[in-house]
């Protein structure tokens, strides 16, 4: 009973906040609604018993992706009214895509109902006595360690690429060189003079 109530609560909130993400006039509000949608989706995942995905949704999507969106939306000067100007013009195309997506969903559900998917061919069956976070970790760091490390290299390449394409050494900056500062002795920097009155000092 309580599960049913929780399901309908989360599901309604996901749909409502999803719709508000699209319809909110202020882009910052859109992102905030999106974050609410992620939280509720995480709730749905917990109801399914997929607690690892729920944690990922909170940590990765809310913690990183949505906050990044928020910064981008706040810092970039994008005219959202102008972006929406073509709404009617692109409506037929959008509607076509929506229909295609709907057909795909029906197709997938039909295939799922028919029971043709034989998960017996699965190469790594889930052990019954461990939580799924544990099971994912166990597979990721043993059987799939090769791919896990390779994915790490991909991220490294992406990072190197971003630096290669954007980093440049700028002229006119005054970086602090602590070694040089410490090496500087008082006699390099100061000079004692006794100027005659009326003569001034030579600098």
């Amino acid at each position: 009973m309580i599960q049913t109530i929780a399901f309908y609560l989360f599901a309604t909130l996901v749909i409502a906040s999803g719709a508000l993400t699209v319809f909110a006039r202020n882009p910052v509000h859109s992102v905030l609604w999106l974050i609410l949608a992620f939280f509720n989706a995480a709730g749905l995942m917990i109801l399914l018993g997929a607690e690892f995905i729920a944690m990922l949704l909170i940590i990765v999507y809310v913690g990183a992706v949505a906050v990044l969106f928020l910064f981008v939306v706040m810092m970039l000067d994008v005219d959202f009214a102008q972006l929406r100007a073509g709404f009617v013009r692109y409506l037929p195309l959008g509607a076509l895509l929506a229909i295609v997506l709907a057909i795909e969903i029906i197709f997938a559900i039909g295939a799922w109902q028919a029971g043709a998917i034989d998960m017996g061919a699965r190469i790594a069956p889930v052990a019954a006595d461990v939580s799924n976070t544990h099971a994912i970790g166990q597979l990721l760091y043993t059987r799939y360690i090769f791919l896990f490390e390779a994915a790490g290299i991909i991220l490294l390449v992406a990072m190197v690429g971003a630096i290669v394409l954007t980093h440049r050494t700028r002229g006119g900056v005054k970086p602090q060189d602590i070694g040089r500062q410490n090496r500087r002795r008082p006699e390099d920097a100061t000079r004692l003079t006794r100027p005659e009155s009326g003569q001034g000092v030579e600098l």
């Binding site: 061919a121 699965r122 190469i123 090769f146 290299i153 390449v157 690429g161 290669v164």
Partner: protein, 490 residues
């Protein structure tokens, strides 16, 4: 599980060497910067050579790596060696080009160039030995990400930046298509391993698996730039720095082609009749459009881009046969193609005027035959060979793929491909005619006649391979490509 790890680690020794080398070189570059670019390049070439040596020493029937994620066999060894060779050449030819292109003329190449090539080679190595959709995708993305950056490596040049952006957007789209196909295959077969997918297809080739097959082949066709997924090729090849274009036209082509062959044979083996239709279409469209599209090109890099589309079509003719002989022919084709293409781009890299500016316009090359006779002779050898004119070695792999297609009862395919080969001969010969017989116009550049010993040596070496001397290598090539094909047909 533990002893399995040890044997797997031995089998991926080349990949481990490249990873280690890439990481060490990255730290080296971070500490010493572009001043050490030459040293880093030499070390990167040495690492690629070491990896190639390790692959060739590996046992031919090494077997599964990490419980079926990848496989070390004669096929992957063959492709690995080709890829590492092409990547090493791409590093060797770069410094002189980038020196001419550095703003302010401080005469240095960016130290990241060899490192990105090493990581791209690592990704391509994963691609060709993948026997699992996940390994396939990880390898493909590793190679592609490095390639996007390399395409826009001269970021002050708008053409280069445009090439990188175009490649990135279209590459991301292709990855999306590929992933969608892979998710369908996984959903309907319950596994990402090639063997498991083949078993599922054998049992019941239903709607979802058909969609998956089509989407995966479409994604792979983008990566080998087969028509109708070729649109990015001329623009990216023209805009990217010439050494990078040489790299794109050689190593990733071999990797993606080998990957396509392995997916078709190992994962889609039971449905040969179904994928054959797609591959036949790709082969026909690529040979015809590659031949016709190149005729109007005025820029030598664009022309070579169409030439690569055309050649991919011929290689696919071998795969379309679906037989062991066909796969062997495709692999032989890629081996000879890599040598011809690298040779052509090496020649294009020598075409600079006295100010060091590179000449890419074909019309301005009139009269080059008198100014640089040796270079033009080499370029003529590559062009004749790419056209597949008999005394030269480029004829041999074309003969092999046509032979395989005819034996598989695909006579019309072989006939149409042969006709398009004649059409393509027109534009290859036009380049030679311009250089030898046309009078130099008023805007003819004052050619730089200085030659670079290493690059000249490489031109001589590649020209010797595609010259009639190459026929001496036929027994060896037939042996290794035959073994490679045998590895896919249990």
């Amino acid at each position: 599980m533990n002893h399995d790890f040890a044997s797997s680690l031995t089998l991926i020794a080349p990949e481990l060497v490249l990873t280690g080398a890439g990481l060490i070189l990255l730290v080296w570059a971070a500490f010493f910067g572009d001043r050490h670019a030459t040293g880093i390049s030499i070390a990167a070439v040495a690492a690629l050579a070491a990896a190639a040596a390790l692959t060739s020493l590996a046992p031919a029937d090494g077997g599964d790596i990490f419980a079926g994620l990848a496989s070390s066999d004669a096929f992957s060894t063959f492709a690995h060696v080709l890829i590492y060779f092409a990547a090493a050449v791409a590093i060797i030819i770069a410094p002189r080009f980038f020196r001419a292109h550095t703003p302010g003329g401080h005469g240095l190449m960016r130290a990241e160039y060899p490192i990105l090539i090493v990581f791209a080679a690592l990704g391509m190595g994963l691609m060709v030995s993948a026997t699992d959709l996940m390994t396939l995708y990880v390898g493909l993305e590793m190679n592609s990400l490095a390639a996007y950056v390399l395409a826009s490596f001269i970021r002050t040049d708008t053409r280069s930046a445009e090439a990188g952006l175009k490649y990135f957007v279209l590459g991301a789209l292709a990855s999306g298509i590929l992933l969608y196909g892979m998710s369908l295959l996984y959903g309907f077969s319950g596994t990402t391993g090639f063997a498991g997918i083949a078993a599922a297809m054998d049992a019941d080739f239903s709607g979802g698996l058909v969609f998956g097959l089509v989407f995966v082949l479409a994604g792979l066709a983008f990566k080998i730039s087969a028509v109708p997924f070729h649109m990015w090729t001329p623009d990216v090849y023209e805009g990217a720095p010439t050494p990078v274009t040489a790299f794109f036209a050689s190593a990733p082509k071999v990797a993606a082609m080998a990957l396509t062959v392995r997916v078709c044979i190992e994962a889609f083996g039971p449905t040969t009749f179904d994928w054959q239709q797609i591959v036949i279409f790709l082969a026909l469209a690529s040979t015809i459009l590659g031949a016709v599209g190149a005729i109007g090109q005025r820029n030598i890099k664009r022309l070579l881009a169409y030439s690569s589309i055309n050649n991919v079509g011929f290689a696919l003719v071998g795969l379309a046969a679906g037989s062991q002989a066909g796969v062997a022919a495709t692999m032989s084709y890629m081996a000879v193609y890599v040598v011809m293409t690298l040779g052509s781009f090496l020649c294009v890299l020598q075409l600079r005027d006295a100010n060091g500016a590179y000449v890419e316009d074909i019309a301005r090359m009139a009269g080059l035959g008198k100014a640089r006779p040796g270079l033009v002779a080499a370029l003529a050898i590559f062009m004749f060979s790419l056209a597949g004119i008999p005394p030269l070695f480029g004829f041999w792999p074309k003969f092999l793929v046509f032979d395989a297609a005819v034996r598989a009862d695909l006579l019309p395919l072989a006939a149409i491909a042969a006709v398009s080969s004649v059409i393509s001969a027109f534009y290859y010969l036009k380049v030679i005619k311009t250089m030898y017989f046309d009078e130099a116009g008023d805007d003819a550049p004052d050619w730089d006649r200085a030659s670079h010993p290493v690059e000249s040596g490489l031109i001589g070496f590649t020209a010797a391979i595609v010259s009639p001397l190459g026929y001496l290598a036929i027994p060896a090539l037939a042996f290794v490509s035959g073994n490679a094909a045998l590895a896919l047909f249990p």
